[in-house]
């Protein structure tokens, strides 16, 4: 089984790439749920949704989130009814949130809901939310503490950030199957997601970081930082709050206790020495994903690199 830890748009693109090079039934995605929010009374799980749509071939290419070709009729009326409208749910997209909310209200867990939805959509690949417990990423900013979506979508990450915390993480546990998937994986890939707010919440769940340290599988991460800046989104500003350099080295640092190999863009090969000083192998690939071919190419390279990497002795 190929296991990928993922969150955000970079993670969804990487999973789209993996679909081209790994049989669906051999891929397990462990997905960030720190961005989840209650919106219009519905339980929205943006990263789980994106991976679900990616695996179902429905993810919007243009937006990178939601359903390709979706309409926004309901949103129009919600706006008219005075509801907040800064977080946009499409009409087709709504079905997932309505269905999940109904399942949760019936007493099912988030991972049971995700599995049922995936099965109904004909997805053969396994989607595991990181936890069934409520863990909320909170971003400390110049205008106060915000939920991740308030910071990312409402404020378009234009406010200064001071810190990040994962509310509820310390008392949470990994969803069923998460630790086992990491333990039994052929290799574990960390998607080119934001290390702080996409992968960070996953690592904050007690037991997951330990599973990554203990697994006999190679653990390979793809750096979302290219040429000293994030490919997209606020990863740079968020990494700084954690004392991490906005560089491949900073990414290696975030994962240094469990990572075997870091895959960086060809432009960042000069960081080899700094990364290898942490005992982490550095390999290069074309990491910027624009076309389908880019995605598949990166997925292919990541798999090859992970399979051929040496285990780090710790």
């Amino acid at each position: 089984m190929i296991v990928v830890l993922t969150g955000g748009t970079g993670g969804a693109k990487f999973v789209q790439g993996l679909m081209h090079v790994v049989p669906a039934c051999e891929l397990t995605s462990i997905v960030n749920t720190g961005d989840d929010l209650r919106w219009w009374g519905l339980h929205v799980s943006p990263d789980v949704d994106s991976i679900t749509y990616a695996l179902a071939g429905m993810l919007s290419r243009e937006r990178g989130w939601g359903v390709e070709g979706d309409t926004f009729q309901c949103l129009d009326v919600m706006r008219r009814l005075g509801a907040p409208a800064w977080f946009q749910l499409g009409d087709r997209d709504l079905a997932l949130h309505i269905s999940r909310t109904e399942k949760l209200a019936a007493g099912k867990t988030l991972s049971e809901a995700a599995a049922e939805i995936a099965e109904a959509m004909g997805i053969e690949s396994c989607i595991l939310p990181m936890t069934d417990d409520r863990v909320e990423t909170q971003v400390q900013t110049a205008i106060g503490e915000l939920s991740f979506q308030e910071y990312f979508v409402r404020e378009r990450y234009q406010v200064a950030v001071k810190g990040v915390r994962f509310e509820g993480a310390e008392n949470s546990k990994p969803a069923p199957g998460v630790v086992e998937a990491i333990r039994d994986a052929e290799c574990v890939l960390i998607a080119p997601s934001n290390p702080v707010t996409s992968i960070g919440p996953i690592l904050a769940i007690p037991g997951i970081r330990e599973a990554l340290m203990k697994t006999p599988a190679r653990v390979a991460a793809i750096s979302p930082i290219v040429g000293g800046a994030a490919v997209s989104g606020p990863a740079g500003a968020l990494m700084k709050t954690q004392g991490l350099a906005v560089s491949a080295e900073g990414v290696a640092c975030a994962y240094s206790d469990f990572l075997d190999v870091l895959i960086v863009d060809e432009r960042d090969a000069a960081e080899r020495a700094a990364v290898e000083r942490m005992g982490i192998e550095l390999r290069t690939a074309r990491t910027v994903m624009k076309s389908d071919a880019d995605k598949a190419g990166l997925a292919w390279a990541a798999l090859e690199i992970a399979r051929s990497a040496a285990a780090v002795e710790r």
Copy 2:
């Protein structure tokens, strides 16, 4: 204030007519909620929705329910997710249910939710759900007891009916303002709605029938039965289960303890003697509403008749 008791598509059409002849702020609709259902985890209130859409100028002409020109993208995905799809919610329509459900979850009553939604939509007319309590119309049929929507929509009223009951009615009370509206009305109109399952639930709420008996206002009903059959829907079969003739006389009988005047189609003028024997004045009008002009014409006639009717001495 003109007060109308309403439910179903006939009621919504009649309210559309009233909008042409009564200033919005002088119209109060008391609406059946016995058809309400929990659907996909959302609180759907079909008759309140129809009146809301009618008053907002959004009611679908073609379907007689839901929003004009609505799309069904969410429904498509819900179907794919394995959700039941026999009750169809459009994408624009969904906003009302999502909004209402959220308000109810926040502790608001059904009538508060209805008022807030109406205000947000710019409706100046007053919409009063009959009760804030849960009252559910149950139809006893050859295939067991069904909720009204199961009988009406899912089974398309093609199963034999044996009886009707209003679960929860005996312990319910009228929503705030209902009894006062009837008491203080200039006149009360009973829409050409199904007397058993649209008006029947309203009359089953303790205190409403009494208010209709006591009000100094004239109470006028428009018969939904024309030429011995319902204009639309299952009113005929349902009236039979209540021992009511499927005729103007049967409608008069259902309302005999509070009605001053029954307005029947010109084709039913021959029932005058039978209706007047109950002490109820019979007047004729063109009661079948196809065009906007039909609706306005009937509303105009009903108002004129109610205003000029003599009070029945009881």
